[in-house]
Symmetry: C2
Subunit: 454 residues, 2 copies
Amino acid sequence: MTKVLIIGAGKSTSALVRYLDTQAQENNLKITIADKDLQTAKKSASYASTTPIELDIFNKDERQKQIKAADMVVSMLPARFHIEVAKDCVNFDKNMATASYVSDEMAALDEEVKAKGLTFMNEIGVDPGVDHMSAMKVIDEIRDKGGKLISFESFTGGLVAPESDDNLWNYKFTWNPRNVVVAGQGGPAKFIQEGKYKYIPYQRLFRRTEFLEVPGYGRFEGLANRNSLAYREVYGLEDIPTLYRGTLRRVGFSKAWNVFVQLGITDDTYTLEDSENMSYREFINSFLPYSPTDSVELKLRHSLKIDQDDLIWEKLLDLDIFNAQKKIGIKNATPAKALQSILEEKWMLKPEDKDMIVMYHKFGYEHKGEKKQIDSTMVSIGEDQTFTAMSRTVGLPLGVAILKMIQKKITIKGVLRPIHPEIYKPILEELESFNIKFTETETEFLGYNPHNLK
Amino acid sequence: MTKVLIIGAGKSTSALVRYLDTQAQENNLKITIADKDLQTAKKSASYASTTPIELDIFNKDERQKQIKAADMVVSMLPARFHIEVAKDCVNFDKNMATASYVSDEMAALDEEVKAKGLTFMNEIGVDPGVDHMSAMKVIDEIRDKGGKLISFESFTGGLVAPESDDNLWNYKFTWNPRNVVVAGQGGPAKFIQEGKYKYIPYQRLFRRTEFLEVPGYGRFEGLANRNSLAYREVYGLEDIPTLYRGTLRRVGFSKAWNVFVQLGITDDTYTLEDSENMSYREFINSFLPYSPTDSVELKLRHSLKIDQDDLIWEKLLDLDIFNAQKKIGIKNATPAKALQSILEEKWMLKPEDKDMIVMYHKFGYEHKGEKKQIDSTMVSIGEDQTFTAMSRTVGLPLGVAILKMIQKKITIKGVLRPIHPEIYKPILEELESFNIKFTETETEFLGYNPHNLK
């Protein structure tokens, strides 16, 4: 029998647990789902193979007791809490997995983990996770046939599914709303294009998008992520002249979002005076010049040069931001918190709504003197509000990876990312059976100058 | 004999020392000028009453020896170093003075300083300093006659004198260039207008200026300082509906500076790749979209919507920012450092150039049912590059305050700002003899709605 301990029963645990349960009988799995709230654990543990328990991870004795009793540990906790679990796993010789980025502290365990013959699989969700695997597959194929990568652009978006897309922003919150509100802050976007380093400050980020077409799903826009350059090392692309990673939104989102950026209402670093009693209208007005006579509407239009017939305006009205009756109602709110609460009113998924994950990779390469391009796209639509696209694309790769580790089909040791063929090949293959699959098309290299203009 | 110890012989020490020397004989002063670099101390100590010494303030024994031997200590060190000097002054029962803002650590000494019967005079330069004194004078006058303050706006600028104003920006560096480049960062401008709290984010700061006319000196523009609200407590204006503090520039400066803000090249928080070998042109280009064909010039114009005939463009050309030959030449430069080095080429004062300090206060008040306004302005022009306006307006109030303390004409105890009539009255009076004087004019209250438009 193999005992799997899942710590943290969050949003993306549902698909993970369902998958593991389908494999439980054949593989003799016993799955314990631990959460600080027993009711939350119980919700995820509705299967024959699953047992819910209450676990406070800050209770060291209790945490270590559970880890000791397990054969395989999965941390679904917020990323900053993985390290304590990881240290216990080293001490008690347990393999582990997370869907989070390898932190410096986690990376520092590599030698010890290797020495003990253990596997700590990280970044095995969707982004990071599916992005790594699907990118490395194409990158390795190009290298294997003797090609040389000349550009790599990669975009991921968590969006609302087309059938549930019913607001002017073509957007709903399908994940942590706070992360959406503060996205792009804390440093410029850095990337490299044709050998030139490029920097985009936050105040320009939402005005520097590019369009992408996903067959069957129409147009999206991509905006740069914070640091694309870090991926040169991860993917072994140290000399690549173009490397760009970004986030996908439906076309027009970023231009309208830029209104909030310019107003300054995405700032999460200071609190507003008397935010509790502020109306939506007063909130917006506090970021506009004082006038005894002019309307908030006209001041905003003038301030940000929004034309009479600009669609942005309809988007703003749709959010009811000029309402003088509705109150923010949050004490000591930062502008970002106030904005979030306004957005949540309109952008929460309705019970019957579905979400969607879209991924787009663009690879340019040279092979035998020819320049080619591979476009690889994946769209995954959620089943419902429990088995969302987000939960499926995070939980399934994680579940498959865990099972392969238990089955000793993944044998590589250390603190890992799924960038090795031994790992990503079988996982990507199995993900296809869950309709998480990439469509690749090869064309001439279009690059940045398709018509060779001088 | 009274021994005055001046620690730190920076830019604004010149006028302080010259003033004290003129008072030395009559008041029996012996002035020691201490600097970590003896040559720097010697430059300031060219008077009969002055002695230069070398002093490393991090050498505790040496520092305490000098402070113990003095009767009055003046710290002209960077603000963060005052506290060590202040603690020694408490221990050895010495009065002290600085031109810097009262830090929390300094404020915490108040009780001890009072208990020992000492005076620690702070914020007694120009801004803070002359601004406090000239504002409190009018505020107290209004209160004394039974009036009620309804608005206070205050602006200060360190600029180039009209006779030396020979570039398109109407600006030269007359103080620490770095502070100019990063001005406005680190939080929004906060103020209150007609009872409404207002917030301006950095990305809008240079587009939210207002014009001010200074008789005899023409038009200036004012842009909001970071936190005006702190002055409510300092000035005892807790209930004032309008309080706004700002910085003065010549008209047009801010709109052009906003190009740098929008590009993202005022950021001092990360370093550029290979900044040393970057040309000015490459520097600008790294903040613009990649193109194999389009010029940096057109990309910038398009990106920031700068019209063909916009004067901003001439200002940018004047700085030579598109030069492909000139190199940044600084290793691991932040964007702000790179920009600073470009600006220093053009904005350094020439040997014969003079600087200028401009101050503008606007007070609104109600008295016997009538609303009135007082405009109070001061312009001070530097003598030369040693006795600059900055040095004079910082060093003279400091010098006068020190002398009054020595003469026991200022007897108030504790950690102080010059906001008490006992302090500011004699100092302002003496400053007039150095032509640092305010012109006050009273009119009807204009406020934000002079014609009572509805």
